[in-house]
């Protein structure tokens, strides 16, 4: 051992580190075994960062008086109201925008915009609000304490709070009293390999086809082609949230 250097011997650190790692492996082993047990061939690989799921909504095609997407969303996720518009859960809602000078009316649907930099995630005190690696912004109800900071933070008023005890929820979307929730981009369908959301399906069925879901990261996807060839906007682009939901003809 030389005294010329101030740096302490790293031998001991290596020894301690090695011992700790071994102890850690031993401690972790039961959990790992538990996990290995759970792994089986029917399990999916899960969300992948190679994708970023998003949506394009053509406001010209969104028909006045139509509520097909809202109804589809409600039935897909078993959202039931109590005829109290102020507090009933709404994951997707139609909005009318009127230019007061010209009288021109735009109609569009508003839902969680699945931002790249979601303010709801920033403010969540329990990390319940989170963004999946594939860009879908969700609420982990196992962690949500119902503080509703995220509802305040969301510039799109996209989130709802469940005020009453629920039963007979859909397996697609377990949800309950005291938690905040919003559009999940039909994450249960995404995980199962589906490429259409419930709202898109309903909109196409009605013949409007105003909603297009797809992978923003894949240059070959239809959504990427549409976004490349058309002028689209993000709502409140000034906030620089890089939303996953974009609008045409707005």
């Amino acid at each position: 051992m030389s005294n010329k250097s101030d740096s302490p011997s790293t031998d001991r650190r290596q020894f301690i580190g090695g011992t700790l790692a071994a102890a850690g492996a031993l401690t972790l082993a039961p959990g790992v075994i538990l996990h290995a047990l759970a792994a089986n061939d029917k399990a999916t690989a899960g969300a992948s960062g190679e994708h970023r799921w998003g949506m394009v909504i053509d406001t010209n095609k969104c028909a006045d008086g139509c509520s097909a997407c809202v109804d589809a969303c409600n039935s897909e996720h078993a959202l039931e109201g109590h005829d109290r518009p102020a507090t009933d859960a709404v994951w997707i809602r139609p909005v009318k925008l009127k230019d007061k000078q010209t009288g021109h009316v735009n109609r569009l649907v508003m839902m969680c915009q699945h931002c790249e930099h979601p303010p709801c995630v920033d403010v969540c005190p329990t990390n319940a609000s989170f963004k999946r690696v594939d860009g879908v912004v969700l609420v982990d109800r196992h962690r949500c304490i119902g503080c509703r900071y995220c509802m305040m933070a969301c510039p799109y008023k996209a989130r709802s709070f469940v005020h009453e005890a629920l039963s007979d929820q859909s397996v697609n979307a377990p949800r309950g009293k005291g938690c905040v929730e919003s559009c999940t981009l039909c994450v249960h369908r995404i995980d199962a390999g589906g490429m259409r959301t419930a709202c898109q399906e309903a909109c196409e069925k009605e013949g409007h086809a105003a909603i297009l879901f797809g992978d923003l990261n894949d240059p070959e996807s239809e959504i990427s082609r549409v976004l490349k060839t058309h002028n689209s906007v993000q709502i409140r682009a000034d906030l620089e949230l890089n939303t996953g939901v974009r609008y045409l003809n707005l």
Binding site: A43, R141, L166
Partner: protein, 158 residues
């Protein structure tokens, strides 16, 4: 011993009387509920004693994998527990697993541990939701089949 207030025989009798309801609960919960799918199956996804001891851990692992990482179709799935263990009443209607004497409640009521699952999760099999759309038990063209890339998406696989 003859002089003691409670003789051995009486003590045994008293204990039997006192413990009978408790043992009844245990005995009832020892087996799956009647009129459920599980009643006719040989075994659960793991041996019964393993499931009894560890089901909460299995589900806790699974919930994080599914909610946070989007992994579906896990071996241990609460939805499948309910599919299998919910019994049906005389009219063939599914009974909640959290009802008195039903699969989950029987033990959880006895040990006074309230499962928080059912604040959000449904307690009867979901016949309305499409199984295919759920991702568990599905086999039709999964986008991310484990271990094998899909045509045209090869460069997207890790």
């Amino acid at each position: 011993m003859r002089s003691s207030l409670i003789s051995n025989r009486r003590l045994i009798l008293l204990l039997t009387v006192l413990l009978t309801p408790a043992m009844q609960v245990l005995a009832e919960s020892a087996y799956v509920t009647e009129n459920s799918k599980a009643a006719v199956l040989e075994r659960c996804v793991a041996p019964t004693d393993v499931m009894r001891r560890n089901h909460m851990d299995f589900l806790r692992h699974g919930r994080d994998d599914t909610v946070l990482r989007g992994v579906r179709g896990l071996e241990y799935s609460l939805a499948e527990c309910i599919d299998c263990h919910a019994s049906t009443d005389a009219s063939g209607k599914a009974v909640s697993v959290a009802d008195e004497g039903e699969f989950c409640q029987a033990c959880h009521g006895y040990v006074a541990v309230s499962p928080a699952c059912f604040q959000c999760h449904r307690t009867t099999p979901d016949s309305a939701a499409g199984r295919e759309s759920l991702g568990y038990r599905f086999n039709a063209n999964p986008r991310h089949p484990v271990g094998q890339p899909v045509d045209g998406e090869t460069d997207h696989e890790q």
